[in-house]
């Protein structure tokens, strides 16, 4: 018997969205294979964000399905066979949208966090 829920909920959507944005951002500088994408994100976040393969590859499939990235088999510098992902014009537009949304969100959160303590007591 399968007991999983078949619809992803809003929380995972937010997570997916963020990971998608990071991947697209990474690909902006040129096509990369999956392992490299993971390593890039890790390096650029100073080892804070460790993207697991279990999340990375489904995310790449998701992006491919939406038409935001395309993929092609190729050779790495070390002469290894690997699948390279490239961002599409559609994907670039999406990245811009995501970025502005992200900025908005971060600004909003930081405003809340930096705001002066709310007045308390009776009015």
């Amino acid at each position: 018997m399968t007991l999983h829920s078949s619809r992803p909920d809003a929380r995972t959507d937010l997570l997916h969205g963020t990971l998608d944005m990071l991947i697209l951002r990474t690909l902006q500088w040129g096509s990369q294979h999956g392992y490299a994408i993971g390593q890039t994100i890790r390096a650029q976040s100073s080892d804070v964000l460790q993207v697991e393969a279990g999340s990375l590859y489904p995310a790449l499939q998701r992006l491919a399905k939406r038409g935001w990235v395309t993929s092609k088999w190729g050779q790495t510098e070390a002469n290894q066979r690997a699948k390279f992902y490239r961002i599409t014009p559609e994907g670039k537009k999406q990245l811009l949208r995501e970025e502005s949304r992200w900025t908005e969100l971060v600004n909003a959160i930081s405003q809340v966090m930096k705001a002066a303590p709310a007045p308390t007591g009776k009015e």
Binding site: M1, T2, L3, S6, R7, H33, G34, Y35, A36, Q39, E52, A53, G54, Y57, P58, Q61, R62, K65, T76, A78, Q80, R81, A82, K83
Partner: protein, 898 residues
């Protein structure tokens, strides 16, 4: 269509995750990761391990990746399929349970599908081969007394040209035709149709062409005919060159212009119509429809000669009511502009199934009763299965508790159980449809044998509509028998089940089971009462005296016109035939008649005027009649109550005479003796003196009420088609052969339309009774068997559950007898409650059976008592057997049982 689906699936597949490709990608990832670690200075092996470790989810990765590509509904379907797989596995483990349920459902759904197939053939698609035939309204004239009449050809033309409610109106009239020449001729059903008949119905020709409006230009100028596919195959061996050949119809040569579509059997429900001729040829084919016009084309211009029923589809957006209003107004205008001196009439527009004199109007009420019965059987079947499912659910409490404990929601469990029920129900639907498909031809074959030699046709194909119906019924029953138990099972108290694993004695479940027993007993009582009443009706109908004695009487029909006799030669022929028959030593008496009584369908009624009786305004005096020869009443043993019967002296030269039945004499003259010497007139004919009064006869159907009827002497009102009746002591087959030989001896080329015992013809009138009663009986027995099975199952389960209790009681000194008695009391209490409820329901329900009951009242005590005895007997047996088995068990083992 198929290509489209394939393409769609291809696209669906292409949109899937490419598994191989993905696996390669993951391997590549691992390889690169390992390489990097080696470059960083790790040992190769530990690098690989570390890489794998990082990639711990490697085996799980394809799953979410795949899910990215699957549309949500494929996902949902996948869930369902896994439920179905699980259900099949679970049921396979309990094959006895599964087979019982499938068997019970097959019976329930099969009976319903059979009834539905017939209902469909009569109500939903009455005309085979024509789409939407149920929406085809029919027009007819109706007198104020409710007599329903066709319209004349000129009136039809007027309606066709002026009625805006219809997108087109065709006219048709069914009749028997003689096909072929001389002795090889045989009678077939045919329709006289207008030129637009095939176009409006949308029926195409399989070969050649159909009849066209160009076949309706000038009277007598269109000697063409369209054959049915069946006739073409049977009588012409599917001759590929049939078009252009000539066939003899009523001794008139017609050229075959086409063969109609194989699915089409004419527009007369139940009749297998085999030839279609243009209305313009009706006079040439010898149809006069009682017209007094002398020229052949006269009947087509005479507004008093009515024989067509106009039919057609309504224009889009027109309702039947507005069409009826338009027809009414149109008819009023027509009657005002060109009045006919008849009684006031209205033009009516009705749905197809109400066609005057049509089979649907007679059969539908019966089918209604059968439908109700079928649903009752299904109810029992469902109650039965609900019981089984409940019992099984009990043994699955452990499994369900584990599922709940593992986090399944109640909805999820209910869904699983319902899917399981659907898995059980679908084979039921499949086998039910098969049962209907096998069973209906048996019933129809029976009906066909009774109707022979007339060909009948039922549109009883088991089509997608029937299959859809069966699946719907199956799903409905799955919900009905599965929902409540599923709801109950999902409400399992986890702790108690897992801790104790004890047998539950939920009070509510006990009540539910008791309720099921009560319901089954009640419904099966209802069914049995219905079956009992129907069986007794058939008995009564068989035993009832129809007013005449048909045993040892032959019926040989001929139409002398078929061998070219005119009236004077015809009279001579019939004279000689009667003389020859009477001269036969083995024949007591011989006579001629136009119709045989108990013919099922009414014969045409004729307008009558009674001397000295002033009809009320708008009263429509028209009665059925027969034209008979001398000795008719002696041959058929119909009692003469006053006066004398027709004799040889009542010929053309003698004074016009008439005989009437008891009911007519009573109605107009207050009794048989008073009627003698009074006069009446048929249509616009001569006044005739009443010379005799005879007892009433069942003229059409065995359950008809007494009605006025009169007889004309053959010698004073000639007809070319007559039936020879002879009576003698010899075996009936010998009599029939001898009578046939008499006809052949006189004219070897004259076709004999039919020659058979009169008893056989009577059976047609009992046909509907027989079929209904057979069906009701099957339903009753099926219902009873199901409910006995269900009661037995439930009671024996109750007993088994109480094995512990029995053990204690026996240990305390109770005897086997007292234990059986205790269970019997319980069973009988439930049985009695069910029986009481069933009685009340039956009293209300049997009133609906009125149309199929004969000779028994709807509250017939014998039927009720029998049903009650059978039902209670079933309950007793179903209780005693398991109780007795329980009582014989060893108290020790009973105590150890749990």
């Amino acid at each position: 269509m198929r290509l489209w689906i394939l393409a769609w699936f291809e696209r669906l597949k292409r949109r899937r995750l490419d598994d191989d490709d993905f696996q390669q990608e993951i391997r590549a990832h691992l390889a690169i990761a390992a390489e990097e670690r080696i470059a960083d200075g790790a040992y190769e092996r530990s690098a690989q391990l570390a890489s794998l470790n990082e990639f711990a989810t490697v085996r799980l990765t394809p799953e979410p990746a795949r899910r990215v590509w699957t549309p949500w509904w494929v996902d949902a379907l996948h869930d369902q399929l896994s439920d179905v797989r699980h259900a099949i596995r679970a049921l396979a483990k309990h094959s006895v349970f599964a087979l019982t349920v499938v068997g019970v459902l097959t019976l329930g759904i099969g009976l319903n599908a059979a009834v539905f197939t017939m209902l469909k053939s009569i109500a939903l698609s009455p005309i085979a081969g024509v789409d939407g035939s149920a929406r085809l309204p029919v027009m007819f004239r109706e007198t104020t007394a409710g007599r329903q009449l066709p319209v004349s050809y000129p009136d039809y033309q007027y309606l066709r040209d002026h009625d805006g409610a219809f997108s087109g109106l065709f006219g048709s009239s069914v009749a028997t035709f003689n096909l072929g020449k001389g002795r090889s001729a045989r009678q077939v059903w045919g329709e006289i149709v207008t030129g637009n008949y095939f176009q409006i119905l949308g029926v195409r020709a399989e070969r050649g062409r159909t009849l066209l409006p160009s076949d309706e230009i000038a009277p007598g100028r269109h000697p063409v005919i369209v054959l049915s596919d069946g006739l073409w195959r049977r009588d012409f061996a599917a001759d590929p060159d049939i078009v252009g050949k000539t066939v003899e119809i009523n001794n008139y040569p017609l050229t075959v212009v086409g063969v109609a579509d194989p699915t089409f059997h004419g527009t007369t429900v139940v009749y297998d119509v085999e030839v279609f001729v243009p209305v313009m040829m009706a006079p040439q084919l010898g149809f006069s429809f009682g017209s007094r016009e002398t020229t052949p084309s006269g009947i087509l211009s005479d507004r008093r000669t009515s024989f067509l029923f106009p039919q057609g589809y309504l224009r889009p957006g027109t309702t039947l009511a507005s069409a009826a209003a338009q027809a009414d107004a149109l008819w009023a205008t027509l009657s005002r502009d060109r009045p006919l001196a008849d009684a006031a009439e209205r033009l009516r527009v009705v749905p197809f199934w109400q066609t005057p004199g049509g089979a649907p109007s007679i059969i539908l009420p019966t089918l209604g009763v059968l439908t109700a019965m079928g649903l009752l059987v299904l109810m029992i079947a469902c109650a039965n299965i609900a019981g089984l499912v409940l019992v099984r659910a009990l043994s699955r409490r452990g499994e369900i508790a584990v599922r709940l404990a593992l986090g399944a929601t109640r909805i999820r469990i209910i869904r699983l159980l319902i899917v399981e029920n659907l898995v059980l129900a679908m084979p039921g639907a499949l086998f039910g449809v098969l049962l209907a498909q096998r069973g209906i031809p048996v019933l129809v074959g029976y009906a066909e044998r009774l109707a022979a030699p007339q060909r009948i046709f039922f549109n009883i194909e088991v089509d997608s509509l029937v299959i859809g119906f069966a699946v719907l019924v199956a799903c409905g029953s799955a919900l009905a028998f599965g929902f409540v138990p599923a709801l109950q099972s999902s409400r399992v108290d986890l702790v108690s089940v897992i801790n104790e694993d004890a047998s539950p004695r939920g009070a509510s479940r006990g009540r539910l089971r008791a309720g099921l027993v009560v319901a089954q007993v009640a419904v099966s009582l209802l069914l049995l009462v219905g079956a009992g009443l129907a069986t007794r009706s058939v008995d009564a109908a068989r035993r009832t005296n129809p007013g005449f004695d048909a045993s040892h009487v032959t019926a040989i029909a001929v139409d002398v016109k078929q061998n070219g006799y005119d009236e004077s030669r015809g009279r001579v022929f019939y004279r000689k035939l009667l003389d020859a028959a009477r001269a036969d030593a083995g024949i007591e008496s011989a006579t001629l008649a136009a119709y045989t009584p108990l013919g099922f369908l009414d014969t045409p009624a004729r307008r009558v005027a009674i001397e000295g009786y002033e009809p009320r305004r708008g009263e429509d005096l028209a009665f059925m009649s027969n034209t008979v020869g001398p000795d008719y009443f002696r041959t058929l043993r119909i009692n003469l109550t006053a006066g004398r019967a027709f004799e040889d002296r009542d010929d053309e030269t003698a004074a016009p005479v008439v005989m009437v039945n008891h009911t007519l004499a009573q109605r107009f003259w207050g009794g048989a003796p008073n009627a003698l010497g009074k006069r009446l007139r048929v249509a616009d004919g001569d006044w005739r003196t009443v010379i005799g009064v005879v007892a009433d006869v069942k003229y059409s159907r065995i359950n008809e009420s007494p009605r006025p009827y009169f007889y004309l002497p053959f010698l004073q009102s000639y007809r070319s088609t007559m039936i020879l009746h002879t009576r003698g002591p010899a075996p009936i087959d010998v009599l029939v052969d001898r009578a046939r030989a008499r006809v052949t001896a006189l004219d070897a080329d004259l076709p004999i339309l039919y020659a058979r015992p009169m008893d056989e013809m009577k059976r047609g009138a009992l046909l509907l009774f027989d079929l209904t009663a057979t069906m009701l009986f099957i339903f009753g027995v099926a219902g009873m068997a199901l409910s006995a099975l269900g009661t037995y199952g439930l009671v024996s389960y109750l007993v088994k559950q109480s094995t512990h209790e029995i053990g204690i009681r026996m240990a305390l000194g109770a005897t086997g007898r007292s234990i059986v008695l205790a269970f019997l009391t319980r069973g009988l209490t439930l049985g009695a409650i069910g029986a009481a409820l069933g009685m009340v329901a039956a009293l209300g329900f049997t009133r609906l059976l009125g149309s199929v009951l004969f000779g028994v009242s709807a509250t017939d005590a014998v039927s009720f008592a029998r049903a009650l005895a059978v039902v209670l007997g079933g309950v007793i047996v179903a209780t005693i057997v398991p109780a007795w088995r329980a009582a014989r068990t060893n108290p020790l083992s009973a105590l150890r049982h749990q």
